[in-house]
Amino acid sequence: MIFATVGTQLPFDRLLLGLDSWAALNPGVSVFAQCGDSRKRLRHIETVAQLSQRDFRARLKAAKLVVSHAGMGSILTAAELGKPVILMPRRAKFGEHRNDHQQDTAIEMARLSNVTVAEDGEALHAALDAAVALGFESPIGRAELGGEALAPLIEVVRDFVWNRTPCGGASA
């Protein structure tokens, strides 16, 4: 019912432990997590270290709610499939990433109507409780994706591939 993912690069136990403690209080909700190389013992959620791209997409598609680190792969796939997503950004000060760019990503992505940002375990519990209270009803369709910015980018890349604009790029 809930699909969680922390990517594959570094452990992100703050998210996993928060999810596990919430699952302990909510035994009726099944949680499946792609947990990377976490060493923590998680008793209340089902985990797998890594998923193939195909399985990742299938799991995400089957879920009612996605809980994720603020990685663009998860954010874009969730938006594409019209899934609500709770993001917890990785922080450098806890050794969860090399820098704090996930914080920047989360702040920007919070503008999407399917995105909720949770900074810590407590906020994650609150966001999960709110999602359950709403019966996992997603507030959005998939309108957010394929926004107006995509078409011009594709056009620029296509022109570059076929060498239709001078290198160095005259401004549009």
């Binding site: 990685g71 990503t105 011009p152 890349v157 296509r158 570059f160």
Partner: protein, 155 residues
């Protein structure tokens, strides 16, 4: 330009697994008609990708210097074999390395920084500024501050 034997450009599209790869997939329409080769770090992309040959290289970053060497060697091999007219990358470190190598062989190169970098360019994008023909940021403000171009975004 293309050599006489080629009627369509040979494109090498380089992206690490995860978000970099998902962003590259969102640009696929831009590659229609080209001879497309992908290079990525996630071997499971091979079964999930239609249209185009997929090459795999080891993932690495500046904290893993030995793997970075292996990544460089593998990418050099891929670039030599594919002989691309054009290299497009959505990051990360491997994309910069592929662009560096491909430039030596005269390919046109474009680095598109991940939309995740909403406040400043990634290190790979900054390094690419001195090497690639074009470096794009997906955020107007970041482009303005860094000397990259803004030409749109995947979201």
């Amino acid at each position: 330009m293309f050599t006489t034997s080629r009627s369509r450009p040979v494109l090498l599209a380089v992206a690490s697994g995860g978000g970099h790869w998902v962003q590259m997939q969102r640009l696929r329409a831009a590659f229609d008609g080209a001879d497309v080769h992908y290079a990525t770090t996630d071997a499971s992309a091979v079964e999930a990708t239609r249209g185009g040959c997929v090459h795999v290289y080891p993932d690495a970053n500046k904290q893993t210097p030995l793997r970075l060497m292996l990544c460089l060697i593998r990418l050099a091999w891929i670039v030599l074999r594919v002989r691309p007219d054009v290299v497009v990358s959505t990051g990360a470190a491997g994309g910069f390395l592929a662009i560096r190598i491909a430039r030596l062989m005269g390919a046109r190169t474009m680095f598109i920084d991940s939309i995740a970098n909403a406040r400043e360019l990634s290190i790979s994008a900054r390094l690419s500024l001195g090497v690639a023909d074009r470096v794009l940021s997906q955020w107007p403000r970041v482009a303005e501050l860094s000397g990259a171009e803004y030409r749109g975004a995947v979201l």
